[in-house]
């Protein structure tokens, strides 16, 4: 049984269909990427999983449980944590406060303290800046904070929405290295949505390709990298 299983998921914004019935799954310990152009429905997919967008058809199963109709805060408590597109850190709160809000639904103080250490170990920069307000961090640091905050919820599944957005290539690479490390060394299951196809293919085991609300292709990332149409349309390589 897959950790996350999505069957024929549909979402509409008003009358405009954003997801036209997509199905895919994510296995425990796996890193899965969804790539596609602007407006393909990548972010909507994540919002539908985490309960922020209303679904109008299909089903979402997490750990065997049907979470299709569950409100967002309950889905978080089941172990799905989403890192927002554009990071969504709280600029008026300090780094430490932002992190503490990540553990908002948890009561186990001792374990939370361990997770602070874990996050500071993964992102030492955050430890240096823990008293600073999140709004004064650089873009890359904010992305680290956003990921760190999601880790504080101790998720079983981490959803990442365009972690490369607005970051320089060097910082993007760093962030993706960390994501890969989380997946490899900490067995974190990851679903990442990304426009940067190269990074997405590098970090993931499997990749799905979305176009205008449909999944048009899916397969092992290693193989996809060598497919001609992928190289042409998504990686920008010429023959």
């Amino acid at each position: 049984m897959a950790l996350l299983e999505i069957k024929d998921l549909q979402v509409k914004y008003g009358v405009i269909p954003a997801l036209k019935g997509i199905s895919f799954e994510v296995e425990l310990g796996e890193a899965v990427a969804i790539i596609g152009a602007n407006g393909a429905g990548k972010t909507t997919t994540l919002h539908a999983i985490s309960g922020i967008a209303d679904k109008c058809g299909g089903q979402v199963f997490f750990n065997g449980e049907d979470i299709t109709k569950m409100p967002a805060h309950k889905i978080v408590s089941r172990g799905i944590s989403q890192v927002q597109e554009g990071r969504g850190v709280f600029p008026n709160l300090s780094v430490a406060e932002n992190l503490s809000l990540g553990a908002y639904l948890r009561n186990d103080k001792a374990e939370i303290a361990k997770d602070y250490e874990f996050v500071y170990e993964v992102f030492p920069r955050l430890l240096e800046r823990q008293k600073q307000m999140a709004g004064t961090l650089s873009g890359g640091e904010q992305q680290m904070l956003a990921i760190g905050r999601s880790l504080m919820a101790r998720p079983k599944l981490l959803l990442l929405d365009e972690p490369s957005m607005g970051l320089s290539p060097l910082i993007t690479e760093n962030i993706f290295k960390t994501i890969k490390k989380l997946n490899k060394e900490r067995q974190m299951t990851i679903l990442v949505v990304e426009q940067n196809a190269q990074m997405a293919l590098w970090v993931s085991h499997r990749t799905y390709i979305m176009e205008t609300g449909n999944i048009v292709y899916g397969g092992a990332s290693k193989e996809l990298k060598n497919q001609d149409f992928i190289r042409k349309s998504y990686l920008g390589q010429k023959d």
Partner: protein
């Protein structure tokens, strides 16, 4: 300059706060003129009003243009409780806070569905409706004639009637409001409220229910406005609908914005300045509000973030003085 003052206050708060408290406690010994005492009492009242609006608008980010309605509901509720049911002042204070809090809950419901400008219009309408009820429900409120003869507070048979005694009572209420707001804002609940302002979707994604905290902000904010409304009724012993008009809402909002949205010290300063300055300008007679308006325009041009802070809690930066980064720097 302003920043240096803030830093000084922050670094020496153990000295500054007791000194400020002593000054306020000792004021009636130097200020014996009842007109000045009246202004000081109004400062305390407006500090409570500004702080309560600051919670919902400054921290939770919900623009409310009808805060005077809550002030009025509290005043009328308190006055009627004391006049008709002969409730003790302190019980009336709590009850009117509870009643107003309930109305805050009612207004908070549409706030869940509305944002920004639309919410502002709804709250504006709410303020007008409440005022019209005060004017037209003659059986209860005596309409435009107002309610006279509201009794003074009694403690153990001792009546608070002099200006000095009222001043201390107002000071206690203002200090209580300040204390409560500081504690609330730095608590988990306060942080959750601020996340709702910053980024509702991000808040939801980490398991915070924005609805819950919006409603909570509305209820707490209106309850404090209602509480001070009850005090106001007892202090003046007479209330009429003219005290709770749109203009009052605007004045309170101006205090919050001028002081600095999302800053407790800012609201306190904003309220103090906006009560005191128009009084100081009285010698200008008819030109008073003109000059006052011009001052506010200049203020907004040259210091748009308000008197105190940029809506940010600078204390976080001060702790790491050496490392204050440039805004907008990107790696």
């Amino acid at each position: 300059m302003n920043r240096k003052i803030q830093q000084f206050v922050f670094e020496h708060k153990k000295v500054v706060i007791p000194i400020a408290a002593l000054i306020f406690l000792g004021l009636p010994f130097f200020v014996t003129n009842s007109y000045f005492l009246h202004i000081l009492i109004m400062v305390c009242i407006y500090i409570c009003l500004a702080l309560s609006l600051n919670l919902v608008t400054g921290y939770a980010g919900q623009l409310v243009l009808g805060h005077a309605a809550f002030y009025g509901i509290g005043a009328y509720a308190g006055a009627l409780l004391m006049l008709k049911l002969h409730v003790n002042f302190f019980a009336a204070l709590l009850l009117s806070a509870a009643i107003t809090g309930f109305f805050g809950f009612l207004l908070g419901m549409p706030a869940l569905r509305l944002r920004g400008d639309y919410l502002a219009i709804v709250t504006l309408g709410f303020g007008e409706i409440v005022r019209l009820v005060f004017v037209n429900w003659k059986g209860l409120t005596r309409g435009p004639a107002g309610l006279p003869g509201i009794p003074s507070p009694q403690i153990f048979g001792f009546a608070i009637s002099g200006r000095t005694e009222f001043y201390y009572l107002a000071l206690i209420l203002a200090l209580f409001t300040i204390f409560f707001m500081v504690k609330l804002i730095n608590s988990g609940v306060g942080m959750a409220m601020q996340t709702v302002k910053n980024d509702e979707i991000a808040a939801e994604a980490i398991g915070i229910q924005p609805r819950k905290y919006k409603i909570m902000a509305f209820v707490i904010s209106s309850a404090f406005a209602g509480m001070i409304g009850c005090f106001f009724a007892s202090y003046l012993s007479y209330i009429s609908p003219t005290a709770f008009v749109y203009n009052t809402s605007m004045t309170i909002l101006t205090m919050v914005v001028l002081g600095g949205l999302g800053s407790i010290m800012g609201s306190v300063l904003g309220a103090s300045i906006l009560v005191i300055v128009p009084e100081m300008l009285r010698f200008l007679n008819d030109y008073r509000m003109l000059i006052f308006g011009a001052l506010m325009v200049f203020m907004m041009i040259f210091k748009p973030e308000g008197f105190w802070g940029a809506g940010k809690r600078r204390r976080n930066i001060y702790k790491i003085n050496s490392e204050v980064p440039d805004h907008g720097s990107n790696s």
